[in-house]
Symmetry: C2
Subunit: 412 residues, 2 copies
């Protein structure tokens, strides 16, 4: 999957970046909302610094000032703010793990890989269309046909919140509640809105208005949705075309989004395969200059989970093709020499390290699921040949190294 992601992201002109696992907590805190701050892993001070903190009876804040990367977007924003020699329209991709001290569940791990693409420096909706096109191409190349890219806009959501009579001071509380609609349902969202002090009637109005905007034909007439309609028109020319759906209830949990937001779903998976959106204010938090940006992130383990359940994996081409066995009268060095010759010709070879009874060696080859075993005896050694056994058919032939390579390549 990583090889496909790399190739596709590069075909869209994105260039690779890796950032450090460890970031300053000042960089991470306050970017993901209060729930995110809670889920950060913090690195305990060491040596003198720890000693001083313990003597001062420090609390959590005094015991650590570094933490583990929580996503790839905030580190990217820090990098873009700090490095002035990046291209004006920096398009980077990044495939690295992130860490969240959350409760693990199916497809939800404390350490997981994100595969991100981001475009910096432009407010053009072409950037949104391109990041949607890139992740859609990845999923299509992996064999997915039925995924949907849900699209909404933070400003549109704000208009719905205001329109329902909710004070905009409570906007982010309302979005955090709305973000759980898939998980807890309408009643669950209404309950959380109530707990946060939002008037029940206003909560009902918000959900009703959002549901109405989801009706067929509503998107085309919806006021304030002009830029989303333009995005759909641009993306209609690319690989995301058949996958984009307007979803007025999509909220996204992270607090840094400012414009269009995205989330990918597919049948049989609660939660999403990935998500993203525009965050025009984040980079400005790390430097003087405000730089508009938009990105999309695929969750590697989520995608793999669905691929595994649907048996979508091709032959991965790992594991030895031949187990090289030898009779005990053959020197280990001769086995290494023959293995080297096979490997130089592109064959994946495991050398059986010891030389017990041949039967034992062949049993091991069968257990490994290796397609061939090669046996080296004194006669073969003298004649410059090996006995090659196809472990599926049971057929055995005596061939030269080149002959063996040919048979292995054609799986004969």
């Amino acid at each position: 999957m990583i090889a496909v992601v790399q190739r596709v992201y590069e075909s869209f002109g994105f260039v690779p970046l890796e950032t450090p696992t460890i970031e300053n907590l000042t960089t991470l805190l306050g970017k993901y909302g209060p729930e995110g701050d809670q889920l950060l892993y913090r690195l305990l001070h060491r040596r003198e610094k720890l000693q001083r903190a313990l003597e001062a009876s420090a609390d959590e804040r005094g015991l650590a000032d570094e933490g583990l990367r929580y996503d790839l977007t905030v580190p990217l924003a820090r990098v873009v703010a700090n490095y002035k020699d990046l291209p004006t329209f920096y398009k980077r991709y990044q495939i690295q793990p992130v860490w969240r001290a959350d409760r693990p569940a199916r497809g939800r791990f404390r350490e997981f890989y994100q595969c991100d693409v981001d475009v910096m420096g432009t407010q053009s909706l072409v950037a949104e269309a391109e990041v949607c096109g890139a992740v859609a191409t990845v999923l299509r190349e992996l064999g997915f046909a039925d995924f949907r890219i849900h699209v909404n806009h933070r400003e549109l959501l704000r208009a719905f919140v205001a329109g329902a009579g909710i004070d905009l001071a409570n906007e982010s509380l309302a979005l955090i509640a709305l973000d759980k609609l898939d998980k807890v349902g309408r009643d669950g969202v209404l309950e959380e809105l109530g707990q946060k002090g939002i008037e029940p009637a206003a909560g009902e109005r918000l959900l009703d208005n959002l549901a109405a905007a989801r009706e067929p034909g509503a998107f085309e007439r919806l006021e304030g949705a002009e830029s989303l309609r333009e995005l759909f028109a641009i993306a209609a020319n690319g690989p995301a075309a058949d996958h984009l759906v307007f979803d007025p209830t999509l909220a996204r949990g992270l607090s840094y989004y400012t414009g269009p937001i995205f989330e990918i779903t597919c049948e049989g998976l609660a939660g999403s395969l990935g998500g993203g959106g525009r965050y025009d204010d984040l980079i400005g938090m790390f430097g003087k200059q405000k730089v508009p940006a938009v990105g999309f992130s695929l969750g590697l383990e989520r995608v793999l989970l669905v691929m595994e359940e649907r048996s979508m994996f091709p032959d991965l081409g790992v594991g030895p093709e031949v187990l090289l066995c030898r009779m005990k009268e053959v020197a280990a060095g001769d086995a290494v020499r023959i293995a080297t010759a096979l490997r130089e010709r592109g064959v994946r070879v495991e050398v059986f390290a010891d030389a017990p009874q041949l039967k034992k060696q062949l049993q091991y080859a069968n257990g490994l699921g290796c397609p061939y075993a090669a046996v080296l005896g004194e006669n073969e050694l003298r004649a410059g040949t090996i006995a090659l056994k196809n472990l599926t058919s049971g057929e055995q032939v005596v061939v030269t190294v080149d002959g063996a390579v040919e048979r292995i390549r054609s799986r004969a």
Copy 2:
């Protein structure tokens, strides 16, 4: 480099493994020696657990029970001890970062990648020969010719320590001092040995005897070096042949080695490109069963550092091949459509997101180091063509999408 390492390690029959970043401190502590324990990153407890620790005025041990992976060998040993369904002769490779809270220096980072191969389950020296062959093949394929794989044996070292009259209770202290010979020289090692309470005359004898064992012809006659001589004889048939050198002063810092040990050096780099050795007792520390094992680790950043200094990198084939520009009368969707067609044919394309003056767009393409720019105007759009400009030669031609692909492929 990672792609080369993967291909070569797989050609030796190794299969991939990834392990979690976070390990229990009980797994990590006591495996790397006292200096290693000091360099572990520890993760601060969270929520109630932290609260309880603070109320109990806990120290470093009470504030954390998890840490970051310090190498790839100890996590592998834990995995092999815990998972009973692995092959008897498990050959795995692993390419992942590790973390050490050390003072950074040239080629020495707090986060760095290791590229490990390990063979489990056999005491045969074929395993040593194979891991040496695998790393030698990687370095040769990357273009290295002048590297040396220094080889020694922990039991041979023990015999030297005892033979110099040093109490074997001080063996590991003596090896930690000896490990710094390259860095601090003979006098520095003698000083550290003295500080650790080893009699000066014994320290002198140890270094004299080791130096004598390094003289030409000494290895062939050296008592206790039988198995190393056998290893050299086996490896002589493989890719490590011309690179192995016996080095009786090689000690290795890590405490878990029990047999042959390795370290790779090359001209112009203080320190090593990688190292390894046999560790027959480590897996037994995590389970009931003792499993012999041997491995080798390449340091990715060290290798890259030397490759960069020697200008050994080929064209990496990343970054867009074409910047797709458009006149402002052309719709963004048309640019996305043409870009999609080029990408489907294997070309790496960046779409200029906005449509400022063409001059600005071409300036940007030149700044990116992009070999081509493609310009989309109303005329081209109507005719189903694009204007393709070679930014090196300045030549511009009007061609179809397929024509453009052909020219880009041949760099015409």
